[in-house]
């Protein structure tokens, strides 16, 4: 017999995927350029030329046996060194190569980080709204997910609600800033308060509560600002990164965990991840893409289009009377729907070829996510459709 649990999961189609498939099908009828598909978080700007140039140079100049050979269980030493140096320079950290564990994207990073600092039956706290794949990530470790309600005025952390969710079983807190789906960028105040709370709760329960910080959107921050680096605020931090968004290479599956040198058991964590890999069938990210990404250092694709798109959409939503926190980064915005049922709201939007995702799957009922990683020209063309949708369907808003 096949595994019944996984078999049963086949029924559960993700809403995002369903909407994206609808958009593709509709695109075949009216031309995909006429479908305002804001459903998927797929980068819309190409990788920088240097990513391609470095890849080609490595293929041409490195000995194939070395370039394509097995990596040590704990990762390519060159990659680890380059990542540590870049992070130290940018964020004033003091990582050594031994604190860096290269992974298959952020998904791989979170899978390893979670298993390092939790045991089955313990709890991992997340703050709504959150990326819905955190559910299988956490469930896969045997730990339980505990959700803190959203602070819907600005999508920073709802510390009051968190107070009721902490328990002695809390092993780790998983944050994501800049945030998918809200676009919120956690402020220094938020991160300072979070560190205070974690320190206090760790003392109260007699064990360290670890912070897992998922940061694939770290480089997409607007208004000339920077994302404050969470590991600077709290010592027991495992930083999970992916190059998917900064270099627009999500299919290449490259990222890392950086274990703060001040973290409990910092000197053992990466070796533990090496052991964890064995059971997961992970065995390091692919050599060439990982090496090319690491050589790119802190270079990125031209990410400015996302800010342009955000401003166009934010201004339009505001003008139309939406309640909508202004995103500080990412390529998402999360306005409040114009009726309580965001699913019904998004269904109506489809009539105008506008594909939005209801916030329910992100634990943000009544809100909807707009992923504006699309060409600006398309965003501009979508604005009249948004206006028509809202004015027709919600004339008395």
């Amino acid at each position: 017999m096949v595994n019944r649990e996984y078999l049963a999961m086949l029924g559960n189609k993700s809403v995002i995927r369903e909407l994206s498939e609808y958009a593709t099908a509709r695109g075949k009828e009216i031309g995909y350029e006429n479908v305002f598909d804001f459903s998927l978080g797929n980068p819309s700007v190409p990788a920088p030329d240097s990513y391609r140039d470095i890849s080609i140079r490595l293929l041409q100049e490195e000995e194939p046996l070395k370039l394509h050979g097995y990596n040590p269980t704990m990762g390519d030493p060159r990659v680890k060194q380059m990542v540590a140096e870049t992070l130290n320079k940018r964020f004033g950290m003091n990582y050594e190569a031994g604190h860096i564990f290269p992974t298959s994207g952020a998904a791989g990073a979170i899978a390893h980080a979670l298993r390092c600092v939790t045991e089955p039956g313990e709890e991992v706290m997340v703050f709504a709204p959150y990326f819905s794949e955190y559910d299988p990530y956490i469930k896969g470790t045997g730990a339980d997910i505990r959700v803190v309600a959203a602070k819907t005025d600005d999508f920073q952390i709802n510390f009051e609600a968190a107070e009721t969710v902490f328990s002695e079983k809390t092993a780790a807190v998983l944050i994501n800033t800049p945030n998918n789906p809200s676009g919120a960028v956690y402020t220094e105040e938020t991160l300072t308060r979070l560190a205070e709370v974690l320190t206090e709760k760790s003392a109260q329960y007699g064990h360290t509560i670890f912070l897992i910080s998922d940061e694939p959107y770290r480089e997409i921050v607007f208004d000339g600002k920077k994302q404050a680096y969470p590991a600077k605020f709290y010592p027991h931090t495992l930083t999970c990164y992916s190059y998917s968004k900064s270099l627009s290479v999500p299919g290449e599956r490259v990222g890392y965990v950086a274990v703060s040198p001040d973290c409990e058991q910092a000197d053992k964590m990466v070796a533990m991840m090496g052991q964890i890999s064995r059971g997961l069938g992970h065995n390091c990210p692919s050599s060439l893409p990982m090496l090319a990404a690491a050589y790119c250092g802190d270079e990125t694709s031209d990410l400015s289009v996302y800010e342009t798109n955000m401003n166009l959409l934010y201004d339009t939503f505001k003008e139309l009377g939406f309640t909508v926190p202004r995103p500080g980064g990412t390529f998402y915005i999360m306005p409040k729907a114009l009726e309580d049922d965001a699913v019904a709201f998004c269904k109506k939007a489809l009539k105008y070829d506008l594909v939005f995702v209801p916030g329910d799957g992100f634990h943000a009922r009544g809100f909807f996510r707009v992923a504006y990683c699309v060409d600006t020209e398309k965003v501009e063309r979508s604005l009249p459709a948004i206006r028509r949708f809202v004015e027709t369907e919600y004339p008395n808003r």
Copy 2:
């Protein structure tokens, strides 16, 4: 607190790794070219030029957003189609793209295949000698590993011993042919008998016992022969493949699971693997390496060196009086040690700068593994050292 289980695993250093580290350290003293390091199964011939050329062409000609973009959960349709066509042509199968699940190497393939067809508490049968990483692979699923004793005269399957290991909890049988560590190539007779036994036991227990066939060495077969394709013999077969050995790209982590179209639930398996990926943090292999490998089709590196090396070593071992089944493929040979304790035997060999791996870790006590994926010139230089070792330490063998 960090996870205690993984923390405790840090003590368990693999014997192979320990020996390999010894060889590296010794190499620093006397020059690595003078250490006859037969410890690691790392390909010694470069990737074919076409792998590099295809990679460069893809980087130069494909749209970066498409080339490096997210793959669908169940894998790149182009890759799936190419793999299906190649397997159909070579082995007379009738796979469709939907039966292929691209993975991060064979480790990823086995991790997914095992989870598809087992539930925690069930049993997976393996035949000694076997690749020691099968232990964490199987343990990671929650199933139990059950080992069938080796048939040491030829390292085919010991069906008599298997009879005592089958139980109603047997969910799957995991085979590896050509075999690491023995070099055995399962014959048509072995595979026919295996299919008969699995069919009989499935009927007896009232549930299908699945066959997971791990085939990274499929292309390294000697004497002009071919490995018979296990899925042709038994319908309920999940074939796990890696390009690591055939293309010498183990660091790129590319492979696949091919679900036999005649397998129970064949139409659901790949979708289940898509669900399994979510908990493992896997999310498809890297785009560029996977695509390049698939475009290589059934091309391989020049693998002939392994046969040359095998013959040199086999003849020498035979001449020196060893009991040693002649390998049919791979880059391993597994002679019987000249004393009962293979660990003691391998320790003595180190004095002659010969690095062999005791068979104990492969469940083949009293034997030792020689990995001859090294330059032929080095194999030739090792022969006098082997002779001196044996004649000095075991004069009365």
